[in-house]
């Protein structure tokens, strides 16, 4: 539901970072999104198309890499990847886990740009 504001935040952040490369065209924006980040990719892609219109990012592609949830288990000491989001239990020993090590990320990982030669 809030994918439109997320898309707008990405456009702002990338526009700001891309300003360091005058004249460059942004081809691709790559995200790292945790499975617990409350972001729906289809919805974000839809919003992306609308948000980039008329901005320096127009025509760019959004690549969303979803990261699984990884919990640390205090009972067996291991880290493990959750199979789903319906049960926060250690995949090794089945003990309940509350120590989240990965899964809430909502980051711009990198951008791919075409740089203009001899740009000042």
């Amino acid at each position: 539901m809030h994918e439109l504001s997320i898309a707008a935040s990405i456009v702002d952040a990338v526009t700001e970072s891309a300003a360091a490369y005058p004249g460059a065209r942004v081809k691709e924006v790559r995200l790292r999104v945790g499975a617990l980040a409350s972001v729906v990719e289809d919805s974000l892609q839809f919003c992306w198309g609308i948000t980039i219109e008329g901005t320096p990012l127009e025509g760019s592609k959004l690549v969303v890499n979803i990261l699984p949830v990884i919990m640390h288990c205090d009972a067996c000491g291991k880290d493990g990847e959750l199979k789903g989001l319906q049960s926060f239990r250690c995949p090794h020993c089945d003990a309940p886990c509350s120590d989240l090590r990965q899964g809430r990320e909502l980051e711009i990982d990198s951008i791919e740009i075409d740089e203009v030669e001899n740009a000042v």
Binding site: I10, S17, L85, C97, I108, E112
Partner: protein, 226 residues
């Protein structure tokens, strides 16, 4: 023309996170316990908060509340009947509160200074999805669930329940006619957020509210006295 990959490694909600960190610092310095109340529309956040504000004020505590809704100041008017300072935040279509809205409404709040408060409650917009992404600098995020909503709500909305520090079951006085399966609800909450403190309450009869108020007093003592 050369193609280049530029590593950014930057949080998409960095601006919100930075503002929230600033707020958290200010809450801590002022010695105020801040709670963010999140639930579906209709769970009974406002009734629960009315009761909480009234009881805390009766105990002489200095409390205030910010309340978020898309439109209307109905909730602020209801809560203000407790005598506590209350300010409405209208998001005009936005489905969650963010740190900037909190910052702005704290700044222009006539007669209310953080340093004069012990408790500040933030009643979020009724929504179980989006508020989970937006840190408001709160110390405690409270997820509320009413007995009319179905015991599997935590399983349906794991991102929110997993990010909560405390869970409150509301309208427990009508659990029986609703066919509410208490054991199942408690089990589901624990599957998503193992070990979380759970309060079973009714703002109508007052059941479970003493325990909740005790929890608040303990948490407030943890914030430290300035």
């Amino acid at each position: 023309m050369t193609t280049r990959i530029v590593e950014l490694r930057r949080g998409i909600l960095k601006k919100n996170d930075e503002l929230a960190a600033g707020l958290r610092g200010r809450y801590g310095a002022a010695g105020v316990l801040v709670l963010n109340l999140v639930s579906s529309p209709g769970t009974g956040k406002t009734a629960f908060l009315e009761f909480t504000l009234r009881e805390l004020r009766a105990k002489g505590a200095k409390v205030a509340a910010l309340v978020g809704d898309l439109e209307t100041d109905n909730d602020a008017r209801r809560l203000a009947a407790s005598g506590a300072p209350v300010r409405q935040i209208n998001t005009h279509g936005i489905c969650h509160l963010d740190a900037e809205m909190i910052d702005k409404h704290l700044a222009g709040w006539e007669g209310v200074a953080l340093a004069d408060l012990e408790y500040l409650f933030i009643e979020n917009v009724g929504n179980l999805v989006c508020p989970s992404s937006y840190d408001l600098g709160e110390k405690i995020r409270v997820a509320l669930l009413s007995v009319t909503e179905g015991e599997d709500k935590p399983l349906k909305y794991p991102t929110l329940f997993n990010s909560a520090d405390a869970a409150v079951i509301t309208k427990i006085d009508i659990a029986e006619p609703c066919g509410f399966d208490r054991e199942l609800a408690l089990k589901n909450i624990n599957e998503i957020r193992p070990g979380i403190r759970i309060f079973e309450t009714s703002a109508k009869t007052g059941v479970g509210m003493e325990e909740w108020l005790g929890y608040l007093a303990e948490a407030r003592a943890d914030v430290g006295v300035r």
